[in-house]
Every structure is written in structure tokens, then in C-alpha cells.
């Protein structure tokens, strides 16, 4: 029996348990006419949970354990003696035999695999029967035991509520597990990488060309400094040169000058910019902006301008970031006490003088925090640079030259046809770890700045 059929059976048993326990509990009420702490449906849910949960847990464990058990049993078969020693070839033969046994194979089977297939089918059905039997027995036994506890004075509701609380706690644990998963998986692969390439060489090396890696000295072509510079140049310099003026000035105009009705229209329109998928921006950058930038560069005399320039990617990224800067600036300007603004206006300052001399200095920490968050967003942005920036790592200050970023290199390294254990693929995890740490630090600093600033005016 497949796991799916079995799950349906167990759930069906649970449904039956729910109905019978509910009927029984409803009977108490009719017989005595008293009111109890638990409703009939609570009793029903209690018995149903006892029927389903242990069996489901067993099935989960069994689904992970049984393939190994099946393989062990197959290996005791006489035909298995001809198998090659443990390794890739052996695993391939075994999995082919499994496919044949399951009736999923295509083409001419290997003779040995065909010989092993009956043993596989045999072992599979053997353990399938054991697993199904135990699961159904478990469901039945636990359900029956729970059913015996259904009595008028039994507090089924508090038991159910305890299960629900456990469920809630488990749900919130997933966030911690995810964070842990990110940290552990990045660290684990990065440590393996740093065993092959010294960490100093990776962080401060200036030569990046993962296409040709010398097996004796992989670190020589895996110096990531040009990537860090490219990321900083595109995400924190060019993009911010676009995003900060436009974002800040839009926020000022919308909060201080615009008619409320105009603001109600314009603010959502600008926020749509943040909702456009990044792959669309990437396509826009590659198709429309990059040729324009190149033509412009050629027209001002930079004849060697790259068609995958840092400027094109940075400009489009800046446009994407405008709404982030704008909404953060909006919040911080709104948080400045009205008394300061009114005081300045009462002294005869014009509105722009009030904004420039009073509101902006007061809101500066919040704005800076917002800009830091925007930078962290920009350097983690992937699709725009994958589609519009080049793969050539150069240490350059020229916006018309090609530059590459950490995220672009992660994608390039992991979508090639390389083995998983090569320094090339592991380098992607080391880059990922660097990116994770940097964005985390930026976020922490930004949030602390914003929080301090909010407290200052509360």
C-alpha cells in the first residue's frame, strides 16, 4: 500500500473515531441532563487526535527509514553478491533495480539490475505490509484506548487545548529553524570551502575568474574583492545616487506640499514600483536601458563602453529602490513633532526653509536608517544584475565599464554543470555567507538607528 492510501485510511479511521466518540458523549448529556466542561465535539476531537497522530508520526518515521531497510534486505539476495563495491556505480544499479520494480523504467535494463528487480519488489512489498499493519494497528489501538477514556467527567477540552498550544509553539519554532538552517548550511559549506581556499585569499584577492580554476591553487582565481567592490559600486553608489534624491524629494513633496487627494493617488502609484517583479526590471535594464547607456557613452566619447555596464544595472536598481527610500523618509518626517514645524513656520521661515533646516535634520537618523535598509536591499538584489550586469569582475570606478556583483556570481556558479564538491560551487556558499552577514549587519544597524530615533521623540 502506498503512503497516500495509508494516510487516507488513517484519516478515515480518525473520522470514524470522531463520530463515534461524539455520539457517545452526546449520549451522556441526554442520559443525565447535566452540563459538562467538554462538549461532545471536544470528546470527538480528542479520540480522533489519538487515532491519527501516533499513526501519522509512525508513518513519517517509517517513510524515511523503510528505503534503507528495503535496500538491506535486497543486499542479502544472492544476486547482490555480484554488485560492485559501494560507490556511484552500485548506487546507480540499485536505483535502476528499484525503478524496474516500481514499473517506472524506460529502455533496455542492465542485466544485473533486472536480476535484482524481483528481490526489490519482494522486499518492498514485505516492508510495505509491515508498515501498513503497524500503522493501522497503532491507529486502532490508540483510538480504542482514547475511546475508553470518554466519560462524562473527562476534561477532553483541556487535553485538546494542550495539543493546540503545542501546535502553536511548533509553528513559531519554524522561524528559528529556518534561521538556523540558513546559518548552518551556509557555514557548513563555507567551512569546506575555506579548507580549500584560505579565507584571506578569498576576501582580499583581486583576481576572480572561476571559469579557469587551477586545481593546485584554487584560491588564486577566487579572490572576491572585485565582486565586493562591484556590489558596493552598483548597489550602494549608483543605485543610491538615483534612489536617494528621488525618494527623499517625493516623500517631502507628498507629505508637505501635495494636496491630500493628490497624495492619495500618487503614493500608491510610486509604491507600485516596489511591487514590480525584479525579473521585469532586469529585462527592462537589459533590453532598454543598457543600449541607451551604451549609446550615450559612445556619444560622449567613451568608445569602449560595455553594453553590460554597471551604470545600466545601477540605474534600474535605483528606480526599484525609490519607494523604499520614499516610504522610510515619509515615516521619519511624519514622526517629527508638529510643534517643531509650527515653531519654525511661526518664526517666518518659508516651508522649504522649515523642511531643510528643521524637519530634515530632525528626521535625519530615520532617513539614514531607511537608506541603510535600502542599501541592504540593493546589494541582495539578484535578477537585475543577473540580466543586465556582466560576468567579468573588474575593479573599476568607471560607471560605463562592466562590473559584476556577489549575487550575479552566486547564480553563475551554481547554475553551471559543476560537481557539487568543487571549490567553484562551494565558493557560491562562501559568497552567500558574506552577503548574509553584511545584510544582517546593515539591518541591525539600520533598525537600531531608527529605533533610537523614534524613542527620542516619544
Amino acid at each position: 500500500m502506498s503512503i497516500l492510501v495509508l494516510s487516507f485510511l488513517v484519516v478515515g479511521l480518525g473520522l470514524i473515531a470522531w463520530l463515534t466518540a461524539r455520539m457517545r458523549a452526546a449520549g451522556f448529556r441526554r442520559a443525565t441532563g447535566a452540563r459538562f466542561s467538554s462538549l461532545p465535539s471536544h470528546h470527538g476531537a480528542f479520540v480522533a487526535l489519538w487515532t491519527v497522530l501516533p499513526a501519522a508520526l509512525f508513518l513519517a518515521v517509517w517513510a524515511t527509514a523503510s528505503p534503507a531497510l528495503v535496500t538491506d534486505r535486497v543486499l542479502t539476495d544472492p544476486a547482490a553478491a555480484q554488485l560492485p563495491p559501494p560507490g556511484f556505480e552500485r548506487a546507480a544499479l540499485l536505483s535502476e533495480a528499484r525503478e524496474i520494480a516500481a514499473g517506472k523504467s524506460f529502455g533496455e535494463p542492465t542485466p544485473l539490475a533486472a536480476k535484482l528487480a524481483p528481490a526489490y519488489a519482494d522486499a518492498q512489498s514485505h516492508y510495505d505490509w509491515i508498515g501498513s499493519g503497524v500503522a493501522l494497528l497503532l491507529a486502532f489501538a490508540c483510538g480504542a484506548w482514547a475511546f475508553t477514556r470518554v466519560r462524562p467527567d473527562f476534561r477532553a477540552r483541556s487535553k485538546i487545548e494542550r495539543v493546540i498550544m503545542a501546535l502553536l509553539l511548533a509553528a513559531s519554532l519554524i522561524a528559528i529553524l529556518t534561521t538556523l538552517g540558513i546559518v548552518v548550511s551556509l557555514l557548513f559549506e563555507s567551512i569546506r570551502f575555506f579548507q580549500m581556499v584560505p579565507i584571506g585569499q578569498f576576501l582580499f584577492g583581486t583576481h576572480w575568474s572561476p571559469q579557469v580554476i587551477d586545481a593546485r591553487d584554487p584560491g588564486a582565481s577566487l579572490g572576491a574583492l572585485p565582486l565586493f567592490w562591484g556590489t558596493f559600486f552598483i548597489g550602494a553608489v549608483i543605485a543610491m545616487i538615483v534612489a536617494i534624491p528621488f525618494g527623499l524629494m517625493s516623500a517631502i513633496y507628498l507629505t508637505q506640499y501635495a494636496h491630500p487627494r493628490a497624495r492619495a493617488w500618487m503614493k500608491p502609484i510610486i509604491e507600485v514600483l516596489a511591487g514590480v517583479p525584479t525579473v521585469v526590471y532586469g529585462y527592462f535594464a537589459a533590453l532598454t536601458v543598457a543600449p541607451l547607456v551604451r549609446d550615450f557613452a559612445v556619444s560622449i566619447g567613451v568608445s569602449w563602453a560595455s553594453s553590460e555596464s554597471a551604470l545600466a544595472a545601477g540605474l534600474v536598481m535605483g528606480i526599484m529602490i525609490i519607494p523604499f527610500v520614499s516610504s522610510m523618509a515619509d515615516d521619519s518626517i511624519a514622526a517629527v513633532p508638529t510643534a517643531m514645524r509650527d515653531g519654525s513656520l511661526a518664526m517666518g521661515a518659508t516651508q522649504s526653509e522649515t523642511i531643510r533646516r528643521v524637519l530634515l535634520p530632525a528626521a535625519l537618523p530615520g532617513v539614514v536608517g531607511g537608506v541603510l535598509l535600502a542599501v541592504s536591499r540593493a546589494i541582495g538584489e539578484t535578477m537585475i544584475v543577473v540580466m543586465a550586469a556582466s560576468g567579468v569582475a573588474t575593479l573599476t570606478l568607471n560607471p560605463f565599464a562592466s562590473a559584476t556583483t556577489v549575487t550575479k556570481q552566486i547564480v553563475d556558479l551554481l547554475t553551471g554543470e559543476a560537481e557539487f564538491d568543487s571549490p567553484k560551487t562551494l565558493a557560491a556558499f562562501a559568497l552567500g555567507l558574506t552577503l548574509f552577514v553584511v545584510t544582517l549587519l546593515l539591518n541591525i544597524v539600520a533598525l537600531t538607528v531608527v529605533k533610537r530615533y523614534r524613542e527620542a521623540y516619544e
Binding site: L273, G275, G282, F284
Partner: protein, 434 residues
Amino acid sequence: MSDGVAPIVPGTAAPVTVPARMPTDWQTASRQTRIRRRYAAEARFRLMGLFAVVMSAGFLAILLFTMISNGIGGFAQTRIALPIDFPRAGLTLDQARLKGPGADLALAGAGLPEATQAAAIVAYGPDGDKLLSDGAWLRVRDQVKANPALLRGRATLWVPAADTIDIAAKHDGAPADEAIVAKLKAMGALSTGFNAFFLTASDSTDPTMAGIWGALKGSIFTMVVTLLIAFPVGVLSALYLEEYATRNRFTDLIEVSINNLAAVPSIIFGLLGLAVFLNTFHLPRSAALVGGLTLALMTMPVIVIASRNAIKAVPPSIRDAALGVGASPIQVVFHHVLPLALPGILTGTIIGMARALGETAPLLMIGMRAFISAPPDRLSDPATVLPVQIFLWSDQVNRGFVEKTSAAIIVLLVFLLAMNGVAIYLRNKFETRW
């Protein structure tokens, strides 16, 4: 009077003479120029603000205009009139098999592809078959299936043109193709119609046959997995953190993780999916299942944060009243707080799902960038999603894919717009101000 300043009582001391400050004379020329300068600065500043707003909206307009003007052609198909003489086309066909599920196979086996090519050569000369799309015979097949009577005589069918002809007809193609198009137009053998392939077919190497249905189905599968995991987990953990958790180091840790996860770059989730789901649990590569799991981890913090805000907005009096009539803490939350917070939670969920729908980078990491020419049937089948399809098409050299890419972007944007529209509608309809 602690600071020792004596009150001035009239008559007891001589009045102190303060040198009087002359009132500013605003009419002098220097004052007037100064005021003018300040007002000019004010106007300039205001104009700069307006310029920033208009430019930001302008960027959006340019973006949308580029996509729509490039992509609108992707929904259109150039067709060529193809006269076929069916009785003489050499089809070996059993009429009875045309009814029922075997019809497609029967027609393909009967030599319809070859017959279509032969008819094109008869009609348009020795290179006539190159004028037609590789999928032209599919259209012939569908028309024959719909109307088997066609097989008994001569008929003129409209079939899709090859991509070179398509480009030449819509934009400006190679001179040779332009000449052919002009000739066909003069013969009245060229027309354009709605490109049904685009919405019903999957990826193909031939742009005239490429469609988004496979990618769309992959996106739907992925989103279903994401929703089924991220929504319950997100809402339950929000309920726990907001309603039950006591503030201690442990719940602080949960809170910090959730806030940080919301700010982690999406590509990091891709690396997590690669390392955990593919390399540790050995789940199938490029499957909608793995894509959905990865995006669920990414979407969950968004849902938690939105749900917490919605739960926070439910006034405490509701909880007190429910507790007062004897409800247990679980009943208070599940019977009263959750239903009242649900509109806000749903709005946040839809916005999070819209973000996940447009996400590309993490899915590239888990291998969803393969060429997949059949829509997935199960969650574990290799699949691709709409944004990844856009990315793959944008890399194609063939010029015919430019408009397909933009057309796919239009479809994606329409979906996102619809989702955000629903979110705004929900918020306006059900939002309660307490």
C-alpha cells in the same frame, strides 16, 4: 522668587531703558530682494519635489509602456492561407478514429505533418514549407478534428507562419522576408489573429509555438504549496507570539529571527533550499514542491508580521468579554480574535503571495531553469514558473522571443495587479476601525 530677581513695582525704581530695536522695514529694496530670493528658493524646492514625484511615476509609465508596446505583438499571430486538397494529400486515415481520444494520435500518424508541408510547397513554391511554423500542422489537425467533413474536399485553412515571416509582418525583418510578406499580402494570403498557442502551449524552441501554459501551471502548483505551508504556519506563530507567549529570552529569539528573515535577500533562501531540500533530503530537482517549500520559508515572515499587526488591532475588550463569559484562552483566540483579525491577515497573505509569485532568484538556485516543454502533472514533476520562463526567454537569441518575453511579463503583471486589487478590496470592505 528663588532666582533673586526682584519684582518691579511701579514707583519704587527707575524704569530700565532698553535700547529699542527698530522694527524691520520690509519695504527697503534689500529686504524686498531677499524675500524674492527666499520665495524663489521655495518655488524651486517645491518644483524639485514635484519633479521627483512625476519622474518616479514616469519611470513606472515608461516601464509599463515598453513592456506593453513590445509585448502586445506576442498575443497576435501571423497566419498564412494554406489550400490543402485532402483527398489527394495521401492521408492514410480511418474516419472512425477521428471521434474519441485517439484522434490526435491517428491524425499525426496519418501523415498530416508531411501533407501540410507538401501543400505549402504546392501553394508557395519549393521553399513554401519554410513559410509555415513547425506547429502549422497542429492547427490543421485541430480544424480537421472539429470538422471531419473537410477531409472530403479542397479547403483553405489559416495556419501560423514561421517566426521569420511573423517578425517581418509585425516589425521589420530581413529584406528577403519582407519581400515574401509583401507578396503574400498582395495575394491576400496573410492575416493576423489571436495567438491561442501562447496561452495553451508550453516552452518551445520555436517562438511561434512557445506558450506560457506550462509555466503558469508550474506557478500555480508552486503557489499552492507555498500557501498551504506559509499561511497556517505564519498565522499560528503570529497567534502564539501575540496572544500566548510570555516575554522571555526564547520568544525574543523567535521575534528576532522572524524580523531578520523578512530582510534576508531572497537568493539566500535559494541557497538554503539547495543545501537542505536538494542535497540533504534529496527531493527532486526543479520540482514545484521544492520551489513551493523554498518560497514558503521566504513568505512566512511576511505573513507573520502582517498577521501580528492585524491581531494587535483587535481591541482587548473583545478578549476580556469572551474571558468574562467563561471562554478558555484557546476559545477566546479561535472564536473571537482570529475571525476579527482575518481580513487583515488575508490582506497581508495576498501581498506576501504576490511577492512570491514574482520571485525568480531562489528558484534558479533549486534548478527550476531547465527547458521544460510539457506542463507538470504532479508536484514532483520538473516544472518552471512564470518569472523564470521570462528570464529564460530573455536569454534567447531568436528575435521572435522578444515579444514573447514582454507578453509573458504582461500576463505576470496582470496576475500581480489582480492579487493586489483583491487585497485592497478586502481591506476596504472588511477593515474595521475600533
